[in-house]
Structures are given as structure tokens and as C-alpha cells.
Amino acid sequence: MSVIEIENVSFTYHGDKRALDNVSLSIEKGEWVSILGHNGSGKSTLSKLIVGLLKPQSGTIRVDGITLSASTVRDIRKRVGIVFQNPDNQFVGVTVRDDIAFGLENLQIERPEMIERIEHYAKKVDMYPYLNKEPHALSGGQKQRVAIAGILAMKTDVIIFDEATAMLDPEGRERVMEFMRTLNREGTTIIPITHEMKEAVMSDRIVVLKDGKVLKADKSENILKDKETLERSNLELLLPLEIMHYMNENGIDNPSLKEFLWQLSLNG
């Protein structure tokens, strides 16, 4: 069953050129689908459209079978959460506890339940000891984990990571990736939006966007090897796969090395 269905969606920013042009795609429940694209490919616009922060000029978006409109936007936001790029600009509360509580307060969760969920999800993202800390005492990765806890506490089915690791150091990025893996295993639909190939390797499927259009959507292993598509959308091949291409082009045949390179690229 598709959890997100996007049909012929187009969007133009005020007086600008088309950010999204007739985009259609569907994402299955529990799937891990990376949306890959270079700057200006419209990938962030797409994420904002899905949660109703922007309104498409044409086309329909359905989440869990509910068609997005002004009257259903609140229901849809209960189902889809977004972790944004800048850790500082999405930290609403004065402390970690307040920030995780923010979404729950909005959903009008009763206080005892709220406290329970805050503690549970703070533990889950390893931020329990920091519950009373203020944001400027935290690192970017820690803030991003708080943002994840804030969304998990709202119990959404789908989490979009809109370039959520772009501003983090390698360690912080690795932690966030780890949470994506765990959450996906537990049944959450994960949609990372990124221009980093490394972040897309673990996904089930990859959708490549270019200039507001879907260039290609396929299983990750096919996209990862598809040099032509990636080059057309200004994305870089992972280094081990680059070597593999070189081997193919020059007729170097070494199946065990190829297998090794493939495994290497899958492990980031």
C-alpha cells in the first residue's frame, strides 16, 4: 500500500521558473526512498509540498489515502514529520525537554502521556541525560537528534530528512544515519532528501530529480551504478563504483575485486 502518492504535481515559486514540473511518484509503507538531486533540483520543494507547507499549483498529493487540502493538512502533519537541515532553526523549545514537548503540546496530548513519551524518545535517541540542557550547550548532531525525538514522539508514520545531515560533522552524520536504519527496521517510512550519494546507498529505492523533473526512479543498486543518469544530474559516483566503471570501460575483468568494490560502496 502506498503511503505517499504524488500525481502530476507542479509548483512555481512566485515569479520564478518551475521548481517542480509534473512530478509523479509513490512511496510504499515501510520503504526507504532517497530523493537525490543537486541544488535547485526541486527536492526541498517536494518535501515542503508533502507536509503542506507549500501548495501545489496543480496535481494531487495523497498521504495514507488522504488527499492534501487546507482541511486535511493537520491530519497529514500527524502522519508525516520532517527533520530540516539547520539544527538551530528547528529548535523551538528553551530546553531539550521543551522542544520534544512542542509537537505533543500542539497535538493536545495529555500531560502524563506527554512526559512518558518525552522520556521514552529521549532515551531512544540517547539524549536522556540532556533533557534539561539548553540548545546552545548542544552540538549540531545532538540538536538534530532532539529534532528526531520530537518527531518520533509525535508517532508519525513517515519521516522526511531534508538534508538533515548536511550541517553535521562526520560523527553526527553517522549517528543520524544509524537512526534512519533503526527506524526503518521498526517500520517507519524513511525519505532522506539529499545530494550526498553516501546517504542514499542504504535506501531501497532512489528517485533522481533534475530541474524539477523525475529523471529516474529505480532500485538503489541500479541507480548507484548508473553513471550516465548521475552525471546528467550533476551528482558524483561513489569512488568504489567509479573504479568499477573504469574497470568495465577498459575491459579489466576481476569479479572478486568488483564484488569487493560493490560491498565497499554499500557500507558507505
Binding site: G103, L107, Q108, R111, M114, A137, G150, I151
Partner: protein
């Protein structure tokens, strides 16, 4: 810059800390009104004494409160002097003959110049200034020889002195009370208390929850923006902008080079924040449940009763007297 303290909250443990912020806010207003209505000299002194004892029993360091008073010292001092010099009602209670002679004027100017030259090296500036003023008066009073130009008198009137005293003590009490409030209450609690106290404004369609949300976000972003300002200043400094030196005209240009990026960054931030808040189901004006609740304790009832009793006592004594 990272560990900047917002407000003047100092962690501690006393009955003032465990009081509900609503109580503290209302009591502050009630006691301020009371301080303004006091007319008798004795009552004023008692009030000052009570507020001071509040400090001591509330385990608040007097030094902190003094730090709160210090920026206003000059204002206090100025109003005091102003009242004494220009309020000429009531009986004369102090007369000081002055002699303006060539020598005394010269000596007074010398004292003033000496004060001006040395004031930067003295720690207690206000006290030093006071001593200088007294010294100048002493010069005019005692040096009555050496080519006399004119004679004058410095008069202090009863009304002037008492008005000066009342204004000063009133201001001191008010500043002390509000300093107690800010020292013992976390900004977030204060904000929550303010939201609840102002709740009746909902009748005139003012949404106090929204105002409280704005204040709490402002509090949240002050350190972040200060950090940002610091970064921009460093970035500009590395391009040769010197924020310390320069003429006024240069300074304006330098400030603009700080303000413009700050302005743009704040708008980008608020745009991002608005998106993040909306994505997490925030709808302005919609009812929300709250994580933080305020609990009214017996202590709060007692404090409330005591402050209202104080106000009633002041009003009654004013009517009776």
C-alpha cells in the same frame, strides 16, 4: 558568548524560589502600589526595612541587588539633588552662607579639575563625586577672604528634603522588589506566569499564549543570534573592519556592516523556524496542552494575603491620617 545568561536568574533555594511566578508577579505590583501610596516617614522606613529583610530571609546576596541598583544610582542621586535644590516649600531647615570670592572660585575650579582628572582611577565613583560636591560647598563657605564678588546662601527646605527622601526610597524599594523577582524566577517560569496572569486579557481578544510563545522564542534565540553577531564581527574584522576604533562616521558604517547581515540572517532563521513549527502541527491560536504547569501552594496564598494586607494597611493609614 556561549554561556550568556539571559535575565538575572541566579539559582538558589529559599521560599522566594519555591513561590509560584504568578504570586510573585501580582505581589510585586501590589507592593509597588503600596510603596507609592505610603505618606508617613516612619512607614517608609519600615517598608524599606521589610524589603531588606525579605532579601536576607530569601537568601539573596545583597551584592546582586546592589548590582541591580547600580545602573540607576545616577538617576536616584540626580532626583535627590534636583528636589533639594529646586523644591523651596515649607520651612528652611538648613542655611549655608556662601562667599563668592576670587580665591574661593579659583579653589572650587581647582577641586573640580582635580576631580575630573582623577575620577577614572577611583573605584567608588559616586561617593567620590559626592565628596567633591561637599568639598566645593565647603570651599565657598569657608573661604570668605580674597576679593569678594558676591554673597549667596544655600538653603534646604523641609518639603524639598522630604520629597527627595520619599522619591529615593520609593525607587529603591521598587528596584529591589523587581530585582528579587528576576533573581529568583527563571525567565521561562516568569514568561509562563505572565501568560497566566494576563489571561483575562483574552476578553479583549488579546491572545496571551501567542505573546508568551513569542517571548519564549525570543529568549531561546538571543544566545543563537549573539553567537551569529560574534561570527559576523569576526568575519568583518578579518576583512579589515575595526569595530573598536574610528570616528563616529566610520562607526556608523561598521555597525551597518554588522546590522545588514544580521537582519537578513534573522529573517531566514524565522522563515525556517516558522516552517519547522508548522510542520510540527503548530497552528497559532489553537488550543494546546502544556508540559509545564504551575502549582499553587499554601505559601502562595500566605504571600498573597500578606501583600494585600500591606496594601490595605497603607491605604487605611492614608485615609485616617
Amino acid at each position: 558568548m556561549k554561556n550568556i545568561v539571559i535575565g538575572r536568574y541566579v539559582p538558589g533555594n529559599s521560599f522566594l524560589y519555591s513561590m509560584d511566578p504568578r504570586t510573585k508577579l501580582i505581589a510585586l505590583i501590589v507592593l509597588m502600589v503600596a510603596a507609592f501610596l505610603i505618606q508617613s516617614f516612619a512607614h517608609m522606613l519600615v517598608a524599606l526595612l521589610l524589603v531588606t529583610s525579605l532579601l536576607i530571609f530569601g537568601k539573596i546576596s545583597v551584592k546582586r541587588v546592589y548590582l541591580g541598583l547600580r545602573p540607576l544610582m545616577f538617576l536616584l542621586f540626580f532626583t535627590f539633588i534636583f528636589q533639594i535644590l529646586f523644591n523651596q516649600e515649607g520651612d528652611e531647615i538648613f542655611v549655608l552662607p556662601l562667599h563668592y570670592t576670587a580665591l574661593s572660585i579659583f579653589a572650587a575650579v581647582a577641586v573640580a579639575v582635580f576631580w575630573f582628572a582623577t575620577k577614572k582611577r577611583v573605584r567608588f565613583k559616586l561617593l567620590y563625586f559626592l565628596i567633591t560636591v561637599v568639598a566645593i560647598f565647603a570651599v565657598f563657605h569657608f573661604i570668605d577672604f580674597g576679593f569678594l564678588f558676591a554673597r549667596g546662601t544655600f538653603r534646604v527646605f523641609e518639603e524639598g528634603l522630604s520629597t527627595a527622601f520619599f522619591i529615593m526610597v520609593r525607587l529603591i524599594i521598587i528596584i529591589m522588589l523587581s530585582t528579587i523577582l528576576t533573581i529568583t524566577t527563571k525567565p521561562t517560569d516568569l514568561n509562563l506566569g505572565l501568560e497566566r496572569v494576563l489571561k483575562p486579557l483574552g476578553i479583549v481578544r488579546i491572545n496571551t499564549e501567542e505573546i508568551a510563545m513569542i517571548i519564549s522564542i525570543a529568549l531561546r534565540y538571543i544566545p543563537t543570534l549573539l553567537d551569529e553577531a560574534n561570527k559576523i564581527m569576526l568575519a568583518q574584522a578579518s576583512r579589515g573592519v575595526d569595530f573598536q576604533e574610528g570616528k563616529l562616521k566610520d562607526k556608523v558604517v561598521q555597525i551597518i556592516s554588522l546590522l545588514v547581515p544580521m537582519f537578513i540572517i534573522s529573517f531566514q532563521r524565522s522563515d525556517d523556524l516558522a516552517n519547522a513549527m508548522e510542520a510540527r502541527s503548530f497552528v497559532p491560536g489553537q488550543p494546546r496542552t502544556r508540559l509545564h504547569v504551575l502549582t499553587w501552594k499554601r505559601l502562595d496564598t500566605v504571600a498573597m494575603v500578606v501583600s494585600f494586607l500591606a496594601l490595605t494597611f497603607v491605604i487605611v493609614s492614608r485615609v485616617v491620617l
